[in-house]
Amino acid sequence: MGRLLEVEDLRTHFFTRAGVVRAVDGVDFSVEKGKTLGIVGESGCGKSVTALSIMRLLPTPPARIVSGSIRFDGRELTTLSERELEDVRGREVAMVFQDPMTALNPTLTIGTQIIEVLRRHLGLDDRTARRRAAELLDEVGIPRARERLDDYPHQFSGGMRQRVVIAIAIACEPRLLIADEPTTALDVTVQAQVLDLLDDLRREHEMAMILITHNMGVVAESADDVAVMYAGQIVEQAPAHELFRRPEHPYTEALLAALPDLDDNGARSRRLAAIPGRPPDLIDPPQACRFAARCPYAGCGDSCALEPPALRELRPDHRVRTAHPASEREAVTA
């Protein structure tokens, strides 16, 4: 099993008038071919910025990738020119955005919006592209696909629009699909359908996927590996079953504790339960562990309030960034 995407020490900062916002500050992860990586975290933790950094879709200025590398299939993305990137986007790596209500151009038919990507990357002629577009719509479960090609986005419901967005994303059979909170803006009833659709498509087209969400339930269902982000950094990373069975980081524990019952379908709609306190200001993050202020175990006489803990591998494939992982904690607290 090869690594399709390797992100190393990615730092994406926003240079604003108020100061430098370290939105992503040293993130490492990789995605295996055909596997799903879930990235979880509260809003503002940098997970979307990470996704947009991979796509190089962040507005520059103010955003800039200050260091790190993103290798896709061995190819360094951070140094590609805009023109070279255009060949990667949509063709090799595609993205599904959070809000289907705004992700589609309201003045163009959805047909046009699918066809343009087919023509761009696959060089199809108009007729073939149109036929393929209809097939794609059909594939993502839109009834009467051929007729609906000439409809405008506002004539579709939110769930249907997200299906269109997904159809656009998979149109050129990309090897990596980044889904950035694909269900957040949708009605509870359609969230599951869209997730299932994504999972099916991933399997069918043998794509790898990065699923970004703030919902542990979503991750539990579809991800092979999970990375938990907090304040611009990954705080815990493990295969999904391992993470859910033996969470190590207090933040992960809190996230999981807020999830009542994994088998309960309603759980997917549950937002993260409130954890007391707020994430730190990313303009001037604390020198110490960024979770320290909210960590119930911090300040127990150790160094974590002064110097930042490193990401360490507790077990094979299970890495965590805390001075107080659960497995080492019993002894102390006991």
Binding site: E86, L108, E116, V117, R120, I168
Partner: protein
Amino acid sequence: MAAYIIRRVVWTVPVVLLVIFMTFTLMKQIEGNPFRKTERAVPAAVQANLERKFNLNKPWYVQYAQYVKGVATGDLGPSLVLRDRTVNDIVEEQFPRSIELGLLAFGWAVLLGVPAGVLAAMRPNSRFDYGSMLFSNVGFALPNFLVATLLIYFVSVKWGMLPTSGWTTWQHKILPSFTLGLVPMAYFARLVRGTMLETLQQDYVRTAKAKGLRRRRVLTVHVLRNSLIPVVTAAAPLLGYIITGSFIVENIFAVPGIGRYYVTAVSARDYSVVMGLTVLLSIIVIAANLVVDILYGILDPRTREART
């Protein structure tokens, strides 16, 4: 959409009638004798002959009925002052020149204003952005009589590059149309920059980029098209600007159009010309509104259903 258009068209009829009636009533309120143009008193006999000739001795409702009938059949009546010509003659000969002036002004505005706005939006806070926005703000604020005066002095009188006035060759048309186009130009530049910046931040533009579309296609198909919709909507009010601006520009540049006639006709009490021009201007603006609304519906599919 069709029903909407029909309804709008039907609504213009009472509005036009109302405009005619209002103008007619207003004109009747203005004191002054259209037949006394100089110090010389007009003998009673001459006055009576003139009033008979132009039907001014009839009751007002007869005059109004005659006038409405005339407008309906495309006859705006004779001029009370320019005795060799009817209002139709004046409109037919001089209105095209005003339209040409207006279109050229509009051309400047689109040719320079829109690209300036687009470029400024593509590089916000750049020097070009500041420069073009400064130019746009100043262009918007400077009264056009000053602009006209300065342009004529430097370009024509001092440097001798273009004629000072008149409307015959294309060289004659550059300065007046540019002067008149300055305000719409400034307006377009600001408007396009604003809408374009807004559009650039839209999610669907990010989607388009994420699809790997070439930058040119993203900008032309996804950004520009959507940014220009407000520009189309702004065109109708701008028409008003251009028409009123032409009052001064036509006078200063001796453009034989219709704008400056308006002022002259009001002060000469040339009732038929004033009414004819007012009604004509109103109909044009009303028609322009209609066209803009329809265009808007075509450009932005979201509004189509809402209006049927």
